[in-house]
Symmetry: C2
Subunit: 135 residues, 2 copies
């Protein structure tokens, strides 16, 4: 499989504005986007550091995944996303190598990009997202 | 302060060779370096993904920091390192903003680069290393 780069790092936070005040206001990383992903029940602030985006993820009422992470681990790095050329091909390749991606076929994630995930137990403790390059 | 990019991401692992088998052998990220940092009691395998290095950190007998992390959290992302132009200036700036870097003045880290750290409680749960660009 062909990884192009680390696309983004997802940070679970309780208050995206407070996290922005640190990563943007103190560290000086530029804000690329602020959005409420209503379908995913997440408030997201994206700050950029060169080719990598830090996604500050604040769960809203009823959100489950990040909420569970926060309850278990507290705030911190939630996942690492690699940009791949072809996420369907990467999924098939990983299954062929004996891995168990979350889905048999990639699904549209935030922003409509095709994505899939590998769970931490298969990757040395890191939730890994694979995301397809924009065409 | 001027951040140039994410320099590396440190992953705490119990077996660097096993982590390498995944990040290099399966994901295909090229190995940049393998080294035993005797002073730090760490075995390190560096794999590269574009401008960011993943440092696979396996503690050796007597190592404390990563060992404690593994005991508490298990394997996973241990720290995030930003490359800055001037880590002494960044340290002074952060202290001026009310933050408490680990040291008042940067110290030489692995490879002789000047580094300092911000603790997770000040950064939204992320141990942040600041590392000075090579001259």
């Amino acid at each position: 499989m062909k990884i192009r780069k680390i696309d983004h790092i997802g940070l679970a936070c309780r208050d995206a504005a407070k996290a922005e005040a640190f990563y943007h206001g103190v560290l000086g990383l530029p804000v690329e986007e602020r959005e409420d992903l209503d379908e995913m029940k997440l408030r997201v602030v994206k700050v950029r550091s060169s080719e990598v985006v830090l996604e500050l993820l604040e769960p809203q009422a009823g959100e489950e995944t990040v909420t569970r992470f926060l309850a278990k681990n507290g705030e911190g790095i939630h996942h690492l996303c690699f940009e791949v050329e072809n996420v369907a091909a990467a999924t098939a390749y990983l299954i062929g190598r004996g891995y168990a991606p979350v889905w048999d076929k990639p699904r549209p994630g935030a922003g409509g990009k095709l994505v899939n995930f590998l769970k931490p137990k298969e990757t040395g403790g890191v939730l890994i997202e694979l995301s397809q390059s924009r065409a």
